[in-house]
């Protein structure tokens, strides 16, 4: 079966053109001038460059439209794009060649790392592509991309533009990795390739950065991890700039020799980037003329007829090959059966969920399940918010867990990488919803062995559903290698045969259907005591039957240990690498607790610990030892102490002591925060023991970093302290518009607002926010803080208070709350 690339370009290696910018500079383009403006001002010079490459042997010319997007050219963007594509097309047609619509970075990073909303990035790219397609471009070439999420936005926009224009052009995507083999945002080559394959690009490549030889390792990696056609357009070396003159030392002959050598590895396309000239391309074209790409052996899916790569999922920078060895999916970001998680979701307490995410990864989770399904929640909005937030602190891939197609699509669109989609089942309506989303955005799909008739009692019944799902997925071009089957775990409390049926299903799915499998392990023990014992035995048995992935609680040491041990014994943990890494230097194993006591950072802590007569909770908070603080509260509650007396007699005095000490310069910010963190751990235990209560409006504060400012560390520190001094904090994050602050104040009935700004350029937004709050919500106090402020300036912008540091912010808010 011919690939899309072969259908479009033919069987031989395709020669792309070389650098445009350096040639335009030699024709008079000034520093700081956008090259794309020459499509209108000097079309003859652009045509001349294209023709020089076509005469040299290029069969694809790249339109001079790299920056023809609104962020660079404002309202001239589409005009420059259309003009650039028309010039390239005019040149290409004379030589029977193709004209590529070229697109590079917008220059601003998409959220959450930057300040450009993801959908705004998609819109700008899409409008540019529509103009290019309508001007007659033959293919789309996305190039020199260095950020995973921006690349995703660009590919999605390209697909949407083609839909709008009713065209089916190839989409090629080329990236620039750094000397660590990573995009500048952290993703490595396999993680990036997994995402691009999922998005359905026609081919992928490397360009810019270095000379061909320096990209050898990267191109080898790329060829090994994707079955898609690969192309390469390197620089003629790194640019050397002295006194404003840029030079590229690699000669055309050296460049061509190296490109010929590398093309032998299996490249489908060759060309050049910065510093390459028509002479470089002429010699490359001569070298590869008549050559066909070396065949790379990849398996072919029987039903779709397509070759497929090793099955990988990826996150912001981490990547996992699912064909290698069994892996763990952390189950804790799911409100089912978790009171505290439900509360966090309803209160939009993102930080609580992020701490749960970090704890699971630290404990050994390879993937995190994210499920926000609650009756009173906007799942479409929340799944996107939480999965995006988790990606800012965890590198690993995520499993987007929802039964709501709209929520899945909202979250997967802006997911950095290629996720697991949980889930589809044998019900036709569910398959009709989920498979189109998976086919469009990419993702490994969890398939539940149930259908309209429920869960079959037998192994054969579950296998039949598995076959139906495989056949249906193939209709969308999804090979069975991209599916992972949940054999479904039922409790043995009601059916003693349930575990055997599940284990038999895993075995049959693995051996008979040749698919990957997973289990939500803990269901097996529902309704029985000491569930960890049953869960851990069950997971070990499932690994023996061929299990690929276990959804479990990685903070449960017993089940984690049994899983890793079972994988090691199954022979799938190469050289016991994971087992030794986890347990090689471990002290005698405790199966009951996974929390190692944190080291104290206060000098002389050991001596203080010896004081048996002291209040141990008070000391734990003073010393900033979270594990001890939580343990002390548990012990005191078990001994019958009232929760409120623990707060009044130990927690608050300890926090007060640390706060005073900080204000007197005797302790410092890290110690203050360590103590706050220990107090938070103690509060969490107390909170679980108390019935839920509505927050006290007098102690409710909305915190935000103002519009235009992305520095939120100071605001986050204030938040930690506020929470530990009994305030309920509505944290709106960073870059928050005045209207959003007002909305939150009115929605929650907050008595106070805390605003932070780091830069002089953003205090204007602070002033606007204060004015709006004072106008629309009179009586609400506004506290400000940040590096650029002082009391005088705070007063001049009508702030009600100024906190020189986090502790002072707390003191001021306490005085306001007490006065109400």
């Amino acid at each position: 079966m011919k690939t899309r690339w072969e259908q479009f370009f033919g069987a031989e290696i395709v020669v792309f053109d070389g650098g445009m910018g350096t040639l335009l500079q030699s024709m008079g383009l000034k520093g700081g001038q956008r090259p794309e403006t020459w499509n209108i001002a000097h079309p003859e010079r652009i045509l001349e460059v294209h023709e020089s490459y076509l005469k040299a042997g290029a069969r694809v010319v790249t339109a001079n439209t790299f920056g023809a997007a609104e962020s660079h050219l404002g309202d001239k963007a589409q005009e420059c794009m259309a003009a650039g594509v028309k010039i390239a097309k005019e040149a290409a047609q004379k030589y029977g060649a193709k004209a590529a619509i070229d697109m590079g970075s917008l220059g601003r990073l998409p959220e959450p790392y930057g300040d450009l909303p993801f959908e705004e990035a998609v819109r700008q790219f899409r409008e540019a592509f529509v103009a290019g397609i309508n001007a007659g471009g033959d293919l789309i070439l996305i190039e020199t991309m260095t950020d995973l999420l921006e690349t995703r936005a660009c590919v999605i926009a390209a697909k949407e533009a083609l839909d709008i224009c009713g065209k089916d052009l190839p989409i090629l995507c080329s990236l620039t990795f750094d000397e660590y083999g990573r995009l500048l945002s952290g993703a490595d080559i396999p993680a990036t390739a997994a995402m691009l394959e999922g998005l359905g690009v026609t081919g992928m490549g490397l360009n810019c950065g270095h000379e061909p030889k320096a990209l050898l390792d990267d191109i080898t990696d790329l060829l090994e991890c994707t079955c898609l056609p690969v192309f390469m357009q390197p620089n003629a070396s790194l640019p050397i700039v002295r006194d404003g003159v840029t030079t590229f030392p690699t000669t055309p002959a050296e460049f061509a020799e190296d490109m010929w050598n590398i093309s032998q590895m299996g490249l489908h396309g060759v060309g050049g980037c910065c510093g390459t000239t028509p002479e470089h391309i002429r010699l490359v074209a001569d070298a590869v003329r008549g050559m066909k790409p070396k065949e790379r052996p990849y398996p072919v899916d029987a039903l779709t007829g397509k070759t497929y790569s090793p099955c990988r999922i990826s996150g912001r920078s981490g990547c996992l090959n699912l064909d290698k060895k069994p892996f763990i999916i952390g189950e804790r970001l799911n409100p089912t059966g978790k009171k505290r998680m439900k509360q966090a979701l309803l209160e939009k307490d993102t930080d609580y969920m992020l701490r749960e995410a970090i704890a699971q990864v630290d404990a050994g989770a390879d993937v995190l399940d994210v499920n926000v399904g609650l009756p009173d929640i906007d799942e479409k909005a929340m799944l996107k918010v939480i999965s995006t937030a988790v990606q800012t602190v965890c590198d690993c891939p995520l499993q987007l867990d929802t039964g709501d197609g709209a929520a899945l699509e909202a979250a997967i669109r802006c997911y950095a990488g290629k996720p697991i989609i949980n889930s589809v089942c044998g019900k036709q309506a569910v398959m009709d919803t989920v498979f189109p989303i998976a086919a469009r955005y990419g993702g490994v799909i969890v398939c539940l062995c149930l259908d309209e008739s429920g869960i079959p009692d037998t192994v054969e019944g579950r296998l039949d559903i598995g076959r139906k799902i495989i056949t249906e997925a193939a209709k969308y071009g999804i090979p069975k290698n991209e599916l992972i089957f949940d054999a479904l775990t039922m409790t043995v409390a009601t059916d003693p045969e349930a575990a055997n049926v599940t284990l038999g299903t895993i075995s049959a799915l693995t051996k008979d259907l040749g698919v990957k499998t997973m289990l939500g392990v803990s269901n097996v023990s529902f309704g029985l005591p000491q569930r960890s014992l049953l869960n851990s035995a069950f997971v070990a048995m499932a690994v023996r039957e061929g299990l690929t992935a276990a959804i479990l609680n990685p903070l449960d040491n017993l089940i984690l240990t049994m899983f890793k041990s079972a994988v090691a014994l199954s022979g799938k943990d190469n050289s016991f690498a994971d087992y030794l890494s986890a347990y090689g230097n471990a002290p005698a194993l405790s199966l009951n607790s996974n929390t190692a006591p944190a080291a104290s950072i206060v000098p002389g802590a050991a001596a203080q610990a010896a004081d048996d007569n002291a209040d141990q909770l008070y000391l734990a908070i003073k010393r900033g030892v979270s594990g001890d603080a939580a343990a002390q509260v548990k012990a005191r509650l078990a001994a019958g102490d009232e929760p409120l007396s623990i707060i009044d007699n130990s927690l608050m005095p300890a926090l007060s002591h640390v706060g005073d000490s900080y204000e007197k310069g005797k302790t410092f910010l890290p110690q203050l925060l360590q103590s706050a963190n220990a107090a938070q751990a103690a509060f969490e235990v107390i909170r679980a023991a108390l019935p839920p209560t509505a927050p006290d409006p007098a102690r409710l504060i909305v915190l935000a970093t103002v519009k235009g400012d992305v520095h939120d560390i100071g605001k986050n520190i204030v938040k930690v302290l506020m929470q530990n001094y009994g305030f309920t904090v509505i944290d709106l994050g960073k870059d928050v518009a005045p209207e959003a602050v007002l909305n939150a104040v009115q929605e929650h009935g907050a008595a106070m607002v805390g605003l932070s700004a780091l830069m002089t350029t953003t205090v204007g937004a602070m002033k606007d926010t204060i004015a709006l709050i004072h106008e629309k919500a009179p009586g609400v106090k506004v506290l400000v803080g940040g590096a650029v402020l002082n009391p005088e300036y705070a007063a001049s912008i009508q702030a009600d208070g100024y906190g020189k540091d986090a502790m002072e912010a707390v003191r001021i808010c306490q005085s306001w709350a007490d006065a109400r």
Binding site: K30, G31, G32, G107, R108, L109, Y113, G114, D115, T146, D147, D178, Y180, R182, L184, S185, G186, V241, R242, D243, G244, R316, S317, D351, R355, I358, A359, D362, T392, V393, C394, A598, A599, I601, P603, G624, G665, T667, F668, L669, P670, Q671, L672, L673, Q674, A676, N677, G708, D709, V710, H711, I713, N716, I717, V720, L758, M759, T760, T761, T762
Partner: protein, 201 residues
């Protein structure tokens, strides 16, 4: 893995509020705990280039960019015709690590943030010292460095300056308000002066 220089601990402790050697000593345990986190997350990248400059009245021009009115820059570049322009970053993973530690261990997170700030500053100092040593062999000396946002140079000058440096090649981009992402990044320029002139001044 590289070790950090003493200056990093001194500056990080200062950022965290230390005023004396005793204060610094109290913070050393947590800064030592933060060091491997910073070193492991940091992926240092920089761009350094020399470029011609022109000073006319209070107008300063860097290599064909639009002139900027800045008596401060004009003073810095008095008698100089060349600038060393530089951008340095610790990369995106550093921002992510700080955020991660502020969530799981806020005290350590604050220490990681402070140490990362001190580290990127120190790396830039080392880079400028190397450049200075190279220039001294040619009879020149580098002035202290100056960044957009200092003195009378508005932060908005980051836009043309980062475009001139092509900071996107090292992963540094600006927000709409001209703040740099990743956050632990610095841009700067310094005047290349004849050695003798430095002595006269």
């Amino acid at each position: 893995m590289k070790a950090m220089r003493e200056a990093c601990y001194r500056d990080a402790a200062r950022f965290l509020g230390a005023k004396s050697a005793e204060d610094r000593a109290a913070l050393m345990p947590i800064l030592l705990k933060a060091e491997p986190i910073v070193l492991s997350a940091a992926r240092e990248k920089h761009i350094l280039t020399e470029a011609p400059v022109a000073v006319q009245g209070d107008q300063f021009t860097l290599d064909g960019l639009q002139p900027i009115s800045s008596p401060d820059l004009c003073r810095l570049f008095q008698g100089s015709h060349r600038a060393v322009a530089v951008a340095i970053t610790l990369g995106a993973e550093m921002d992510s690590a700080i955020r991660r530690y502020l969530l799981k261990d806020p005290g350590l997170g604050a220490a990681v943030g402070a140490l990362a700030s001190a580290y990127v500053d120190d790396l830039l100092d080392q880079l400028m010292a190397q450049e200075n040593a190279r220039l001294m062999e040619q009879g020149f000396i580098l002035s202290p460095r100056f960044s957009p946002g200092y003195g009378d140079v508005p932060l908005s000058w980051q836009k043309p300056f980062t475009a001139f440096l092509h900071t996107e090649k090292i992963g540094v981009r600006l927000t709409e308000q001209c703040l740099m992402i990743p956050e632990k990044s610095i841009t700067a320029l310094a005047a290349v002066r004849p050695s003798g002139m430095e002595e006269e001044q």
